[in-house]
Symmetry: C2
Subunit: 121 residues, 2 copies
Amino acid sequence: MSHKHHHGHRHPPRVRGLVLPWLLLALARGPTHGYQLLEQLVGAGLPVDPGILYRTLRALEEEGTVVSAWDTEGTGPARRIYRLTDHGWELLATWAQYFEDLRGKLGEFLNAYRELADKTG
Amino acid sequence: MSHKHHHGHRHPPRVRGLVLPWLLLALARGPTHGYQLLEQLVGAGLPVDPGILYRTLRALEEEGTVVSAWDTEGTGPARRIYRLTDHGWELLATWAQYFEDLRGKLGEFLNAYRELADKTG
DNA sequence: ACTCATAACTGCTTAAAGCATATAAAAGTG
DNA sequence: CACTTTTATATGCTTTAAGCAGTTATGAGT
C-alpha cells in the first residue's frame, strides 16, 4: 500500500498576475484579437488558458484600459479586435516600473539564496 | 460634483505568490518565529499581512516544508519557532530556479516595452 | 457528411491575498 | 495600580487571478 506521505506538497513554483501585464505589452505592439494574443503569449513562454484570457480582456475593457470592435471581414468566425487606450498605455508604464523593481528584488533573492546554498549545501 | 469616472481601474500593479518563497528564503537563514519573519519581510520591502503569514506558515507545516516548536523561554507571549526541513530546502531550490527564469522574462518584457515606448512616444 | 482549425465565451472551483478582528502575555507609563 | 503599547499568534469573511472543463459557431479541408 505504499505509505504515500500525505503531505500534499503541491506548489508548482509560479507567481500569479502576469497575464494582465503581458496582455498589455502584446497589445502595445498593435491592435489584435484574443485568439492571436493567445498564440503570442504561448510563443513568449507564457501559456495562458483561453478562458482567463478572454475574461481578462473584457475586464480590461470595462475599466477603459482597452476598447474593442468586431471584425467580420475576412474568413472564419468574427474576431473582436482590442486596442490599447491612453489609460492602457499609462497602466503598462506603471507595470514596467513595477517590473523593474521586482527584477531587482528577484536579483537580491537569488544572490541571498546562492550565498546560503554555498555555505550550507 | 466631480464626475468620478466609473471605470474601476484598480490593478495596483502587483504579482501574487511571492510571500511563500520569501518565507522559505528567510527561514533558510535559520529557524525563527512568525513575528520576526514579519519584520524581516517588511525590512526586505515585501510588506506582508500577519494573517497571510501565519496561515502560510501553518500550510507549509502541513506539507512538511517546515516544522515548528513552541518556545516558552524568554519574555512575552510564546513564540512558535519554524525550521526548514530537507523538503523545504528542495522547494526553495526549485523556487530559485523558477525565479531565474522569471527574471529573464521580466528582462525581455522591459526591453520590449522600452523599444515600444521609444518608438511610440 | 465529417472532422479540424479558428474564434469567443461561460460555469464551477481553488489559491493567494486583503482586511478586519480576537486573544493573550509582558513591558512601559502616569 | 489602572491603562496603554508592544510582542505574538490566530480566525473569519471577501476578493482576485487562475485552473479546468465545457459550449457555441464559422468556415475550410477531406
